[in-house]
């Protein structure tokens, strides 16, 4: 049995037709060219199959044979696939559209589940690797830049700070609060212990318990290092996605982006829950009625029907969270006496509006 093939001698680009002969015991390829007989040992050959064309190169020569005969290509398959891996590769590539689409769905499934299930957990747990001094560096950098462009309400800041100082917080870290002149219904906490409250959110509050709830909630975000956790999480996710889609360049820009948007960094549902729980505990420790938490949330939530206050976009309040705050307060069956000093400070705060 003879198969026709193209032969290139590796010296010039001239194409020659040759007849490939039976290869004894599948050990070699033989052909005649220019009056001479050639025999290439198959273990000295490299094979390259692209689509339906097989290129055979003799490693010691520059010469090549190009074969298109399907039968010959098939009969060389066993020689070509030195390892089962390369065999598997070819069968997967040739497996057809349905298999490929199946593979694609499988790949996407893996990517998505790593991104949404595995990574966040790892990222949040690896927060302890980042020294706490980093919280201060990143918070300071943001705060200095932020505060420069905002109008501080000094009178309210002083009263809010006194209010905060009255609260017992189980953490040595120093907490600072600033009140910013703005209609935005917003407040946020920075990892360095700085809290920013907008006059807009104070205007919406009707009792000192609500302010205490807001501060308790925000301090819980700080003490639990939620901002840093979210930074790690977003970064991990971005690192992963951009590595998968090989887009290394934009990784740096995400670090910068996230650091610039500390105030609108959206916390995950679990982190919000943790902050609510710790906040409520802190209120109880301070003899403040934790119903304030639920009250503050429902007030913000009812406002949300008309427009979404900024506070909600970064701290999404769900009915679930309101229900949780209510339930926790009711479970207590504890009477809370009025905190006269806090009430006084809150009333003063309201009078300055």
């Amino acid at each position: 049995m003879y198969y026709s093939a193209k032969y290139f001698d590796g010296k010039s680009s001239r194409s020659h037709e040759v007849e490939l002969g039976n290869f004894p015991a599948e050990k070699s390829l033989s052909f005649r060219f220019d009056g001479r007989s050639y025999s290439w040992r198959l273990d000295q050959c490299e094979f390259e199959l692209v689509h339906k064309t097989l290129t055979i190169s003799e490693v010691n020569l520059d010469a090549q044979l190009i074969v298109t005969h399907p039968e010959l290509i098939k009969s060389l398959n066993t020689v070509r696939h030195k390892s089962p891996v390369s065999n598997l590769y070819d069968s997967l590539v040739e497996a057809g559209r349905a298999v490929h689409i199946g593979l694609l769905i499988f790949i996407l499934g893996i990517i998505l589940s790593i991104n949404f299930l595995v990574l966040p957990a790892i990222a949040e747990r690896s927060v302890f690797l980042i020294p706490e001094s980093y919280d201060k560096v990143i918070g300071d950098a943001f705060f200095d830049q932020f505060i420069e462009e905002e109008a501080i309400n000094y009178e309210q800041t002083e009263l809010a700070q006194s209010f905060l100082d009255e609260l017992e917080i189980e953490e040595r870290r120093y907490f600072n609060v600033s009140v910013i002149e703005s209609d935005q219904v917003n407040a946020f906490a920075l990892p360095n212990g700085e809290m920013v409250i907008y006059t807009g959110i104070i205007a919406k509050m009707e009792s000192y318990e609500e302010l205490a709830a807001l501060l308790a909630h925000e301090t819980a975000h700080i003490t639990n290092r939620h901002s840093i956790k979210m930074l790690c999480r977003n970064l991990a996710s971005y690192l992963f996605i951009s590595t998968v889609f090989s887009d290394v360049n934009s990784i740096m820009s995400v670090i910068a982006d996230n650091a610039n948007q500390l105030q609108s960094l959206s916390f995950s549902r679990e982190l919000e829950h943790e902050a609510d729980e710790d906040g409520i505990q802190m209120m109880i420790n301070n003899q403040i009625d934790p119903k304030g938490m639920a009250k503050m949330f429902s007030r913000l939530n009812s406002e949300a029907e008309a427009y979404i206050p900024q506070f909600l976009s970064s701290h999404p309040v769900t009915d679930e969270r309101i229900a949780f705050a209510k339930r926790r307060a009711e479970e207590l069956e504890q009477e809370f006496s009025e905190q006269i000093r806090l009430k006084e400070l809150f009333d003063q705060l309201k009078r300055t509006e």
Partner: protein, 316 residues
Amino acid sequence: MELVNYKEQLEFKGKGGEYFGIVVVNWLLTLVTLGFYYPWAKAKQLKYLYGETSLRNDPFAFHGTGKEMFVGFIKAIVVFGLLYGLFFLFIYLGMPSIAILVLYAGLIAILPIAIHGSYRYRMSRTSWRGIRFGYRGNRVEFTKKFFKWVFFTIITFGFYGAWFAINVRNYVLSNIRFGNLKVQYKGNGGDFFVMNLIGYLLSIVTFGIYSFWWQKNLFAYYVDNLSVEDGERKIKLKSLATGGDFFALLIVNMLIIVFTFGLGYAWVVCRTMHFIFNKIELTGDIDLNRISQTEDKFTDATGEDIGDFLDLDLII
């Protein structure tokens, strides 16, 4: 023997569906090997794209292997690791401006070496009818020139950029050999600058519609200045693409990418390859049966992979 001028065309026969099969299997293997399969994946993809490109019915071939490129890949990781290591070291030491300076200086210093290495490797592993391509640029000479052009570009606030791009192209492409044939690129920074200036202004005025004709001019500028020489004999390349052709190509490519969320990538690559080769006409009198082997084999793939990290696309 006197040869009459002939017209010739490169042909790309690849199909999106076939290429998709390769791409998907590569994605899978790259994912399960945590990225280490990448060089092998790249080799497979290049082999397909080269193998489906043919001249006079004989395919081009890419002989690079995953193993060669893996070594290059590791070297590239080390180079970038060192560079980013230095960057973060200076950040840690509280010297962010020095950190940024070091990073950019490092990246600029790597660029010419990456371009050189990438061409040297890629060309030496490319062949047609058993005749190898080759790159004869000199690394030291190219690096010196490159820095000079970078310097001019910086002191002219970027205006020299057009000359910079064309100088690189002139140098690199004119150092390509295909057997005993010599590739020539003769571009001019001034022409390129004017073309881009007009293209930019008209694109703004026409709300982007002109950009397809700008693209057509760029393509023609890249192709028409390219030729292959063998002493007195020559093959000239000529672009046949029109602005309308580019409009159709790019709009459909964009629609495919958008509506398949990027998964139609394989089809876009094949359509584009098909378009490019279909729109280039070769005219000349070089005897394609008498090209002789002149270039050495070369197997260091470091430049190739540094090029990937920097997102450098080969300039052909």
